[in-house]
Amino acid sequence: MNVQEYISSGNIESYVLGLASEEERKEFENMCSQYPEVLNARNAFELALEKSAIENAITPATDIKNKILLEISSTAKVIPLSEAPVKSINWFKYAAAACVVLLAGSLYWNISLMNKNQTLQNDYQSSVAKLSEMEKDFEILQQNPNVKMASMKGLETSPQAFATVYWDTTSHDVYLLMNNLPKPASDKQYQIWALLDGKPIDVGLIDNEYFIKQNRLLVKAKNVQNAQGFAITLEKKGGNPTPQGTMIVLGNL
């Protein structure tokens, strides 16, 4: 190939101006490496082109440079970081996921603890209330020297039944301790009687609620001025003015 002909046939311009095909580019690069004349001619054209372009320059608006510098400085900062963050982003994701799981677990734990705490507090309060009722009841029996006691034993129909009556001889208050009384049918109710000279005096009914809740040690009955003994009968609900039903327990003072 005639090198001078190759140089003057537009190959250099075509290559430098980016108009050459891929094939032409490869051929030109080969020519450059083989023939210094081609390379020199290319350099000369490039310099002339650059000079011509600078002579024909149009100055752009000043704000464009700032926009570009702003844009590249944001990428400039991203580039050196781009190696490490791949790991740290994953680390962050796992850490965040772990935090969410821990938080959820902690919340669940807290809520269940709170519920448990609430239940315990309720239980505690009802226990304290029950205990203070019982302490009051116990004080009546223990600290009052005027209280008389009558053990009421089960009769033939209910040999297992057993209750105790406490009678305050000064205040005339009657308290009943149900050691062992079976729960009555819902249409029946236990009625308490004071016995004076063989006559029964009504001193009240035992609320059936007692057999459900059982939060009182003693059941307070009506006052009675005088008594020699006490008895409990099973009456219809609401009781009777005189005993009609079966006598369950009986005892004398």
Binding site: G10, G18, A44, E46, L47, E50
Partner: protein
């Protein structure tokens, strides 16, 4: 502008590849006008030309690693980025727009001789205006409008071989015009 240079081209490239923003600022100060001239000779809309210039410099910054000094000068590399970005821009303006260009060029071919130097050309296009009109159209379509030789052959209804030889002749003429 070149006289202001404090960097040799090799130093400049090395520092740009090391992401030196000062070197980049220097590059912009010395070459933005020349590249803006090329962009304006392809993209006629001022706003779009500004956007293209911005993208070109951002791309120079991003792609500086791929610059290979054995294949040409830094300016040549940048010039091709600017030209390609400009061509992409005018081509992306839609098929309809390029169709308009095509029919316009067919008309230009018919009355080609009469359009000589009536439009005030800027940048490299000014150099182009000194070419013979039959060559000028070919260089204009090829370089400034990005048409392939095949497209030019079809649009101007000239055999492909003729397009190729005429463009080569025009380009070599361009070289002698620039270098004198």
């Amino acid at each position: 502008m070149i006289s202001k240079a404090t960097y040799s081209e090799q130093d400049l490239v090395t520092q740009l590849q090391e992401r030196n923003e000062k070197a980049f600022s220097y590059l912009y100060d010395n070459y933005s006008g020349a590249l803006y001239g090329i962009i304006n000779s392809i993209v006629t809309d001022k706003e779009i030309a500004n956007d293209v210039l911005q993208n070109v410099f951002v791309n120079i910054w991003k792609k500086i690693e791929s610059y290979d000094a054995s294949k040409g000068r830094l300016f040549t590399w940048m010039l091709n980025i600017a030209r390609n970005a400009s061509i992409d821009e005018i081509r992306s303006k839609g098929f309809r727009h390029s169709q308009q260009n095509q029919s316009l060029n067919e008309n230009v071919d018919v009355s080609g001789a009469s359009t000589e130097a009536t439009i005030e050309d800027v940048g490299l296009k000014k150099v182009l205006s000194n070419l013979k009109s039959e060559w000028r159209i070919l260089v204009d379509m090829s370089y400034f409008q990005g048409f392939t030789h095949e497209e030019i052959s079809k649009i101007l209804n000239i055999p492909l071989g003729t397009v190729k030889t005429r463009i080569r002749s025009a380009l070599s003429q361009l070289r002698t015009m620039i270098q004198t």
